[in-house]
Amino acid sequence: MRVNPNPYPDLLASVAQTQQQINTDEQEIASGMSVNLPSDNPAAAAALVQNADQTSQADQFERSIGSIQGEMQNADSTLNSVITSLQQAISLGVEGANGTVNSSDRAAIITQVQGIQSQLLSLANFTYQGNYVFGGTKMQTTPYVLDPSSPSGVTYQGNSGTNSVTLGNHFTLQTNLPGSQLFSGSGTDMFQSIQDLITSLQSGIGIGKAVTEVSNASNSIDSQRVFYGNALNQLTAQQTYLSTETTELAQQQNTVGGADLTAVISNLTTAQTSLQATLEAIGQTANTNLFEYLK
């Protein structure tokens, strides 16, 4: 049978093919990825788009948690201060209710309670990064202002709105409690109770009842403070979850699109050997034909 007398095109095509393989392998080694172009593996490329989006989302949730955590920790410790102040007011009320207290001592107690009143006002108007934390969603307006015409001595200018922030694919967290609920909800009113304590200390009538009122307000706030404690716990739990998710996503990315370096390097070595062999074959075929021997 007659054979193809010109093997060069085949040999060159083989060289080009091997060269292509070497380029692909080198690119995989350089990038560490087996999917460098969508055509390398269309399904994997599409999965990597999803993976990148989920990773970006998870990173963002972690950043958002960081932002919210600061606000909630501060809100929580502010409420702690509120409760401490209320406990002081209760102690002062109990002291004032004692029949042995003389009028000058009582006046001093009243001044102290008034001091606590203004302290509570400033605590209720606590701001974090320019926002009033206890004003509902009216975060740009001072929630509580002094108002002599009000029975409680203050007026609430905030609203009862709450915000929730998405911090996971199926996790949304309420991030604030409005003052209307926190300080004057569920049948107790912190400012009213302090005002009542001052009035009763001034008149000497019903101090015990007023102290109970303050105590109820304190208990109410203390029980609502659990909201922040729970939320902070949830944030920590979600952080843990997200960091696991991020790790899993990174693993998934590597599984779907990562280069199997051992295999790639082995392929590369094979391709290089094959290239060398082909080139040598071309060199060998170069100078042999019958004309050479007819001298």
């Binding site: 269309p42 599409a46 004309f291």
Partner: protein, 468 residues
């Protein structure tokens, strides 16, 4: 009975035939590297014998013809495969270029969309913060520019493919003209019984080049041939070639006409077929998907944006706080009916106009949350924005990968067919060297015979002289 003169004539015919055969070998050796050249073989036949009863004497050898060795069936298979190879290699390289727009990078559409929704999530944690609001506007701008860049790049590619269409049509016209001329030369030679092998080789070479450009069918006729495209548009009939024309359509792209008929959509093979497939099918398909994504995203975001309140508590919808109609405050300019991706742009520059609030207070994030929720909602043809984009990436990658695979397959088949052609028609130097030795020896032998006859004639003449 035979005569010495007859023997001399036989020996002479050997010398002449061997010279002719030698010329064929020389020509083969000279054309060893000529593309498309088919090796030639001398056809030697024994000359008609003379019958001098009761004996029959041979009268030497005749070089009847010089024949080019080729396999017409193989040639037509090569043509078909060349068409397929031309089509897929053009398509593959076009799609290879297209898909670079969809590789993962910091500026690709998928990343821009992720970053946009991330910025809204961040805004949600502190909706009154102007720098976070600015962050959303910047991210929205990046979404718009990523769509713009990709759409522009696709349009540019389409334009350059369109230029290729015009160039390829020009090449086709040049080749068909050349083939028509070669038809003339072939038939002129064949009409007078000459070997037209060289011109047939050149014509075959031109047909191969033409096959790589467009789908042609070859219909051989007496001493000539007819070329038509797959759909029957004539390219060459005998000695006449028919030029293809191009004409721009309403979209500014060139359509191809043959004899006044638009045959653009019927050209499916060859480089021209591949170019047209990329220009008229693959790229428009991607453009449509991108436009759907851009339109769906902008429209959905705007719908939420116009359902809330800006930082100053003003409603962003079509009704103002005082209840009078107003122009809604959009985040993206509402997309036009065509070219949503190319023209996507951000409508506002004042970050306070972003409607994060759902109750009119600056601290409310209800509307920002609603906007963020779009990231996982089926807002584009039943898909979330990221699902939609990853679908586009899959389609682009799949088309490019299929075209590459087809190209690899067709070029391998073509290579095998070319091997086969070379094994039949290629010039082998070994074979030519052996032939040369054969013809040389035969020539020497004939020459020796002549010398012998010469001696014999001399002897005869001497004989006459002695007797005379």
């Amino acid at each position: 009975m035979s005569s010495l003169n007859a023997s001399l004539a036989s020996a002479l015919s050997g010398l002449i035939a061997d010279q002719g055969a030698m010329a064929t070998t020389t020509n083969n050796v000279a054309n060893v590297n000529t593309p498309g050249y088919s090796r030639q073989e001398p056809v030697l036949v024994a000359s008609d014998p003379v019958v001098l009863s009761p004996l029959t004497f041979g009268t030497g050898v005749t070089l009847q013809s010089v024949e080019s060795i080729r396999d017409p069936i193989l040639e037509s298979q090569i043509q078909q495969q060349t068409q397929a190879e031309g089509q897929y290699s053009t398509l593959a390289s076009a799609l290879q270029q297209t898909q670079t727009n969809f590789t993962a990078s910091t500026g690709d559409i998928g990343t821009a969309i992720s970053n946009f929704f991330d910025s809204i999530n961040q805004l949600s944690t502190n909706p009154s913060d102007l720098s976070l609001r600015q962050g959303v506007l910047t991210a929205a701008g990046n979404v718009a520019s990523s769509f713009n860049t990709t759409a522009d790049s696709l349009t540019q590619q389409q334009t350059s493919l369109d230029l290729s269409v015009v160039q390829q049509v020009g090449q086709i016209n040049q080749l068909t003209q050349q083939i028509a001329q070669l038809n003339t030369q072939v038939s002129n030679l064949q009409n007078v019984g000459e070997n037209a092998g060289t011109f047939i080789d050149q014509r075959q070479q031109a047909i191969d080049q033409l096959s790589s450009l467009v789908d042609v069918s070859v219909i051989p006729s007496d001493n000539s041939l007819t070329l038509i495209t797959a759909n029957g548009a004539p390219l060459v009939t005998g000695q006449q070639s028919f030029q293809l024309q191009t004409q721009t359509n309403s979209a500014g792209l060139h359509e191809i006409y043959s004899q006044g008929n638009d045959i653009t959509s019927q050209i499916t093979s060859g480089q021209l077929g591949g170019t047209l497939q990329a220009r008229d099918q693959e790229i428009p398909a991607i453009q449509t998907q991108l436009n759907t994504l851009a339109d769906g995203l902008a429209t959905s975001v705007n719908k939420v944006q116009t359902a809330g309140y800006d930082l100053n508590g003003n409603p962003t919808g079509a009704t103002s706080a005082s209840g009078t109609p107003q122009t809604p405050v959009y985040l993206f300019n509402p997309p036009a009916a065509t070219g949503a991706a190319a023209n996507l742009s951000v409508a506002i520059t004042d970050p306070s106009l972003i409607a994060a609030s759902s109750d009119g207070t600056a601290g409310s994030n209800g509307n920002a949350e609603a906007m963020y929720a779009l990231s996982n909602q089926a807002i584009i043809d039943g898909q979330s924005p990221t699902d939609c984009y990853s679908g586009i990436v899959f389609n682009v990658g799949n088309s490019a990968s299929n075209a590459s695979a087809e190209q690899t397959a067709s070029s391998q088949v073509l290579q095998q067919l070319n091997d086969q052609r070379a094994s039949i028609s290629g010039v082998s130097l070994d074979e030519e060297a052996a032939n040369m030795v054969r013809y040389q020896n035969a020539y020497s032998a004939s020459a020796q015979v002549i010398t012998a006859i010469n001696d014999m004639l001399y002897a005869t003449i001497q004989m006459t002289t002695l007797t005379g």
